[in-house]
Amino acid sequence: MSRSRGTGWYDFSGCIIAIIGISLSIDGFHALYRKEAFSSESLIFGSMQFWAWVWLIVGIIAIATASALFGGGGRILGIVIAFLSAISTLLTFDVAGQHSLLRLLLAVLVIYGLTTHAGEAGGEMLSGSMAPDERMAPPPIR
């Protein structure tokens, strides 16, 4: 039971990170081809070109991560990518405001799903935490 429940959280996080990845890639392409659409003077640092590539690359890695999550792996990669997309989003908040806000919330959802619940499926360990299955399991008998 708990096994399938945990797998469900992988699927969930995969879908959400796919939404983040696709929207980041679209925004990245947009910024590459029409820089004037973004108010680059409100960037904290870097040029619009730089951030366009950051969005595009993080977006494409996020889409790849989604497919890994659908296969039941990539838990740590998913957390890292959600974290990176949250940071890149915050640093460009004034440039892509509403999209940034939504992506930030979605990143939080991904991290929530992958940290608190995905462990229920067993599999990859996060340092210092144990999957509930393992905690409950009796010591192995030789």
């Binding site: 659409a37 999209h99 619940h117």
Partner: protein
Amino acid sequence: MQREESGWAVGWIAFASLMMIMLGVFHAIAGLIGILDDGYYVVGPKYILQFDPTTWGWIHLIAGIVVVLAGASLLKGAVWARTIGVLVALVSAVANFSWLPYQPIWSSVMIAVCIAVIWALTVHGRDAVA
């Protein structure tokens, strides 16, 4: 594994179905407004997916019909409709991201509904032993 999950599970599937039907109706309303009232959606001339509001209207209307049909199949208990439901909700969320400059609040609400659908179907969908 003989926990009495089915009562709950049926509830989650019903929840997802109704959310999808609601999402579809939202799409259809947004679409009909775009088709019928040309002046309603106004956006700055700088968006990469900036189609004519009428084009967006048709996209929304068709998406709405697809989502309502998928939701209705899910409500009738079709197992394949769970996979379709997740896919449709994902595509709808991405479409709403792209449509956001036209109607930020609506899109945000619709993305939230999409996530509710995905959550119910992925996390709880398997509870229903088909």
